[in-house]
Symmetry: C2
Subunit: 284 residues, 2 copies
């Protein structure tokens, strides 16, 4: 049996995950949160914030490719991109695979996360060295209020909607994001698990529809996020199709035309989970 176990403490989940053979490499408390880096045989290095696994070396490609490439391939030629959160650099790495991109602004609340990513996940964080990239430290919601600049793509790559990230799922934030989105632009954000947080998924869908005009829902099965039918909201000023509008960017490990198409959650599935809710099970 493995000697070291890492026990996740996920306040949002009825299942807690225990990781076999996860050895601690780093632990510190920033102004905002507890930051840990672990290393396990199966998953490689793992980034943990406030006790919850954010990513592992083995499988972060799936989350980051799906968060980034579905919206990016829904736009003919995205030039200016805003990433809210994403201090680990994974989303940034994927954005930079698109040749049309001219500038990326990344607004991360916790500068310590970026430093830890550069040190322990240097390949993932390589994009911070790009001359196209500007990093701002602070709250994404406050940034959008102050900033007149317009974006073709806005990505919200946040932790769970508690604590530091609470401001990123309010109607006010969505309105600011809608105003900062260019015509033809696409907004995407992670919106938790369909299995465990269907009420939240549904609430964000409605709030985005009100703020942007059009919304859709897609997902990916992420093994290291409890509830695992992980969802992403896609919002825009006018309805966008469920097909990529151009050839895939180079260097992608799993994203492809077929996966883009098949990632969208059928409306019957959303209705089914919304009717189950996020509370205790009630025998029908």
């Amino acid at each position: 049996m493995a000697k070291h176990w890492f026990e996740e403490r996920d306040p949002f989940s009825p299942i807690q995950y225990r990781y076999a053979g996860a050895r601690p490499l780093y632990s510190a408390r920033s102004e905002l949160q507890e930051i840990q880096v672990l290393e396990s045989d199966f998953f490689g290095r793992m980034l943990v914030l406030d006790g919850v696994v954010q990513l592992t070396e083995r499988d972060e490609f799936l989350y980051h490719e799906m968060l980034v490439h579905v919206p990016m391939h829904s736009h003919v030629a995205p030039k200016s991109v805003l990433i809210v959160g994403g201090g680990d650099g994974g989303a940034l790495r994927e954005v930079l695979k698109h040749e049309s991109v001219e500038r990326v602004t990344l607004v991360e609340m916790d500068r310590e996360v970026i430093e830890v990513a550069k040190k322990f996940f240097p390949d993932m964080a390589a994009g911070f060295a790009s001359p196209l990239v500007t990093v701002r430290h602070g709250d994404g919601a406050a940034f959008l209020d102050d900033e007149g600049r317009q974006f073709d793509i806005i990505l919200v790559d946040s932790t769970d909607p508690v604590g530091p990230s609470t401001s990123l799922s309010t109607p006010e934030f969505f309105r600011s994001a809608s105003e900062a989105l260019n015509d033809g632009g696409v907004f995407a954000m992670q919106t938790e698990s369909l299995h465990f947080h269907a009420d939240y998924v549904d609430r964000v869908q409605r709030a985005l529809k009100a703020a942007f005009g059009a919304v859709d829902l897609y997902g990916a099965p992420i093994a290291t996020y409890a509830g695992n039918w992980w969802t992403f909201a896609l919002a825009s000023h006018a309805p966008i199709g469920r097909e990529p509008v151009r050839e895939p960017a180079p260097g992608l490990r799993i994203y492809c035309r077929e996966l883009h198409r098949s990632a969208f959650v059928p409306s019957k599935a959303l209705t089914c989970f919304t009717s189950l809710g996020s509370g205790p099970y009630r025998r029908g």
Copy 2:
């Protein structure tokens, strides 16, 4: 905090699941395995075999609808159906929703599982009372060797491929199943997690291709199975499409035409996970 925790013991998984608030209702040892029934606030009743969660009242519909309705809707009018395993009755309940079905044979190794299902999961196990159903106790592989009868649909709804279920993923079993399948028939089986067991998924795909002639792979994100991008192999004597060939059966909670289509795993995704393998992570 919840007082009762159920800690899964899954020999196949690098993540062990802990279920909050899972109270024991029943525990016994059959000739073949340990059988437990628990009840949790979030998941309702849970069936556990040899320490591994097999199903929960809350989410079993997703696994059973996907195991059954993708192959069933790939056949114009399935009349005779064989279920190997499936002693909980969930797959049987779904099969009986198809009006074309005239007879179902269910071969379960462990008769205690059926008795426990009837007692603790009566709605799920209601199909055992149907006059169309014949239950046989024994090994599915031995049953197929002895039996000349032909089936339109063969479903393998087994526990993990260790212990009692080992005989259900051998080339010999697949050859027997292929011989017992009618022309135009469809075989489906659960083949574990793409994230954690890609080597196994790939091995079964190859073995089924050799035995049947045509094979495909689809999946569903099951929150209560570690690794959760759960896969199902679909095999047949000639290639079948990725579209349902008729309207959905009545009374389905999540299965629909869109979900059928989008469940298929893109070949790029299988290649990606197969190249990662099922062993320790190696930095590229």
